[in-house]
């Protein structure tokens, strides 16, 4: 049997510098949840299929279960808490709330982060584009249409904000 020793990793989570001593085989998901108390990052499938453990790695969505914690050393991580650092809802969260886009809520952090990363790249995506981007985030309550409605509403607000000239 190998004799792995722990390594120190340092990264920022929602802008705050965090450190942890991790084994090489520890997933980022396990370290965020178990060591650093980020329970908003959730275990779903462990295979990168369901999207409940989505975090943003330097702004782009990744599966926390498929990234080794040691690989996140020096990176900037965002969890859903990072969308509302002061406790006020992010406009996208407000759209989710207004549209009833959460039932049990288990998939919601991953949905929000994936949608947020998309909206930052493309402020006015089509419904089809939103659907395609969110295809890797599973909602077992099957509340997909309201989730699409919520993201679409945010995109429509982007149109209003820019007077249709994004």
């Amino acid at each position: 049997m190998s004799d792995p020793s722990r390594q120190r990793v340092a990264f920022t989570v929602n802008g705050e510098r965090r450190e942890a001593w991790v084994f090489p085989h520890d997933s980022l998901l396990d370290v965020l949840r178990d060591d650093l108390g980020h329970h908003e990052v959730r275990y779903g499938c462990g295979e990168g299929v369901c999207g409940t453990c989505t975090v943003l790695l330097d702004g782009e969505p990744v599966s926390g279960c498929l990234l080794l914690a040691v690989q996140a050393d020096g990176c900037s991580l965002t969890t859903v808490r990072g969308l509302a650092p002061d406790g006020d809802l992010h406009p996208l969260q407000a759209c989710f709330l207004r549209n009833g886009a959460a039932q049990c809520g288990f998939c919601t952090p991953g949905m929000l982060l994936t949608a947020w990363a998309l909206l930052r790249r493309e402020p006015r995506p089509s419904r089809e584009r939103i659907r395609r981007e969110l295809t890797g985030n599973l909602c077992r309550c099957t509340g997909y249409s309201k989730i699409l409605d919520a993201v679409e509403e945010h995109a429509a607000q982007a149109v209003e904000r820019t007077g249709g000239h994004a």
């Binding site: 049997m1 190998s2 085989h25 295979e47 999207g51 990744v62 599966s63 080794l68 690989q71 998309l118």
Partner: protein, 295 residues
């Protein structure tokens, strides 16, 4: 599911990776994007003693070298999908990269990793064979060039030596009278393909078929190339629907796909015929100027 313990080494060059592989022996695995390997670790289907992380090597830009694109092995699917040079010069590659897994898979997964992993239901191995792509593999004593067609052997099996790593991928670009199509059937849009077809059709100035290449994925232990003796029926003739369909039917009849949990072998053979016909027709239409932009 949690991965069993392993030891971990970061490397900053492919040469260092190859030396590490030689030193660590058969119990070492290279990790690139990790989108196929880490699920295998989590499921404990793979239990390497050592993981050699090549991510610190990094990826330079995708380069247009005239007749081909040069992609560093660690180029992420998302970069392939979005690169203007790929969409313009080799749109079938951008289209296939956009269909790999989900957005998280594409953020992290790499073209070199996808080819080295050799999943017979992978999009990129299928398209790479259809285009005649080549890789440079780095070993501890030097590098060598290998056609992707000669790299892929069987399920998750390649001709890479245990101490070799894919360092670079070269993909031929499509010429002005070339059309392409990549069609796949997936159970859900982020799944592996059940069957996929990559087709490239080149027309001559008179509008008749000068060359064709068709590769079918998901129907055998590796991407299956439609033999030249089947495609020859298309050459020198206008790409009309009936002969294209006949060629697809003949190709599909040569297949003996296995049954599995996703589809029966008979259904896969049927998909090969239908998607083959559609892919040939779409590629021929695009070659004739009826081009539709990559989505």
């Amino acid at each position: 599911m949690v991965a069993a313990p392993f030891r971990y080494q970061r490397v900053t060059s492919f040469e260092e990776a190859a030396r590490a592989l030689r030193e660590r022996g058969e119990d070492a695995k290279v990790i690139a994007g990790g989108q196929s390997l880490v699920p295998m670790l989590n499921l404990r289907v793979a239990r390497p003693e050592w993981l050699i992380d090549i991510n610190p090597v990094g990826a330079g830009p995708i380069e247009d070298r005239g007749g081909y694109l040069r992609l560093p092995a660690l180029t992420r699917h998302r970069a392939v999908e979005e690169a203007e040079v790929v969409r313009r010069r080799c749109p079938i590659l951008a289209d296939a990269a956009a269909r790999v897994g989900n957005v998280r898979t594409r953020t992290r997964g790499t073209i070199g990793g996808s080819l080295a992993h050799a999943d017979p239901a992978g999009e990129l191995p299928c398209v790479a064979v259809a285009l005649g792509a080549e890789v440079t593999v780095q070993g501890p004593d030097g590098a060598r060039d290998v056609a992707v067609d000669d790299l892929l052997v069987s399920y998750l099996t390649t001709t890479l030596a245990p101490d070799e790593v894919v360092a670079e991928v070269r993909v031929p670009t499509l010429g002005p009278r070339s059309g392409w199509s990549f069609l796949e059937m997936t159970r859900r849009s982020s799944d592996w393909m059940v069957v996929g077809v990559a087709a490239v059709v080149e027309l001559d100035a008179g509008g008749t078929v000068a060359a064709a290449s068709v590769v079918i994925g998901g129907v055998a232990e590796r991407p299956w190339t439609v033999p030249a003796e089947v495609l020859v029926d298309l050459l020198g003739a206008a790409p009309e629907a009936a002969p294209l369909a006949r060629v697809a039917e003949r190709a599909a009849a040569m297949l003996h796909p296995d049954d599995d949990v996703h589809a029966s072998g008979a259904y896969r053979r049927r998909l090969a015929a239908v998607l083959g016909r559609r892919a040939l027709a779409e590629a021929a239409a695009r070659a004739g100027g009826d081009g539709r932009p990559v989505r």
